[in-house]
Symmetry: C2
Subunit: 184 residues, 2 copies
C-alpha cells in the first residue's frame, strides 16, 4: 500500500450533509477537511440536490479523491423520507460516478462499530474517538461534520482489513494488529 489513497466520507441528507476527507499516507490517516452543508433554509428540493451534487464534485476534484464512502441507513421512518434520502444519496453517488470514483457504503451501526467498537455509540462518542484517531484540535459544535469524517475513517479501517486479506476472525485480526487494540 504505497500509493496515496484519498477517501471522501459523506453522510447525505436533505437538511444537513456532512463530509470529511482523509488522506492515507503509508498507514496513517490524515485529516484534509471536514464540514457540512447547511440545507435547512433552502426550500426548493432540486436546489438542495444541486448543492449536494456540486459540493461532492468540488471535494472530489479539490482533493483528488480516489474513493467515496457513503453513510447509508437501510431503514427509515417512512417511505417519503426514504425517497428523499435515496435522492440525496443518488446525487452523491452520481457525483462519484461522473469522476470514475469507486463507491462504498456503510450502515450507521457499522460506522459506529468501526470507530468506537460500539454499534450503539452516540454522535458525541464517535466525535471523541475521531478526535483521538485523527488528532484534530476541537470537536465542532455541529456533529454532522464528524459524521462525514466517521464514514471516511470507517472505510479506511474496512479497506485495511480487506487489503490485509485473510483474517479468519475478529480474534485473528486483533492478533495480527496488536497496535489497534486499545490499551487499558
Amino acid at each position: 500500500m504505497s500509493e496515496i489513497k484519498t477517501i471522501l466520507g459523506i453522510d447525505p441528507g436533505t437538511i444537513f450533509t456532512g463530509y470529511g476527507v482523509i488522506n492515507i499516507i503509508g498507514k496513517t490517516p490524515q485529516i484534509e477537511n471536514f464540514g457540512y452543508l447547511d440545507l435547512s433554509k433552502i426550500s426548493d428540493p432540486y436546489e438542495k440536490l444541486k448543492m449536494i451534487f456540486h459540493r461532492t464534485i468540488q471535494l472530489i476534484d479539490e482533493y483528488n479523491v480516489t474513493e467515496l464512502a457513503i453513510e447509508a441507513p437501510f431503514f427509515g421512518k417512512n417511505v417519503q423520507s426514504m425517497l428523499k434520502l435515496g435522492r440525496a444519496q443518488g446525487v452523491s453517488i452520481a457525483a462519484a460516478l461522473s469522476r470514475e470514483v469507486e463507491v462504498f457504503e456503510y450502515s450507521p451501526r457499522k460506522i459506529k462499530m468501526a470507530i468506537t467498537g460500539n454499534g450503539n455509540a452516540s454522535k458525541e462518542q464517535v466525535a471523541v474517538f475521531l478526535k483521538n484517531i485523527l488528532k484534530f484540535d476541537e470537536i465542532p459544535k455541529k456533529l454532522d461534520a464528524t459524521d462525514g469524517l466517521a464514514v471516511a475513517v470507517c472505510h479506511y479501517y474496512q479497506s485495511k482489513i480487506v487489503t490485509g486479506g485473510s483474517y479468519k476472525s475478529w480474534k485473528d485480526f486483533i492478533n495480527k494488529n496488536p497496535d489497534r487494540v486499545k490499551k487499558k
Copy 2:
C-alpha cells in the same frame, strides 16, 4: 414560443428505466427517440445507477435536451424499495443538474390523466393515446419505453398550460383550448 424545446421524459427504475425524447417545434410535439434500459440482469447496484446516469447524460447531449421531466411516484410498497427508487431518481436528476437542465416531476396518476384523461388508465391505454398523439408506427412490446415518452408529453401539456398563463379553473382552460377537448 418560437424557440425549440426538447424534453427528455424519464421513468427511472432499477429494473427498467424508460425514456422518451420529444421536440416541440411551434405547437407540435415530435418524437425524437424512445426506449428503455434493461437493468434486470445487472446485479451490482452501482453499475445500475451508473448506467442510468450515463444514459441520461448521453440523451441530454445527443438531443440538446432543454428540460427533464421525471416520473416520480410518491408512495411505494416499502422503505427499501423507496430508497432504491430515490437513488435511481437521484442519479437521473444529477445528470440533468450537471448539464444545467431544469427538472420537473409528475406523479404516475398525473401523467395518465394528462395523456388519456383518466388517472387510472392502464399502460396499454397510455401507449395507444401516445401513438395517436405522436403518430408513431407501432406500440413497442416493452411498455417501459412508452412510460418514458408519457412523462415527456405530460410535461409538454403541463408547460403549455403554464406558458399559457392565467387559467382560473379547469372550465376556463377548456374554454380557452377547445381543440384539446375530446370530441364524442
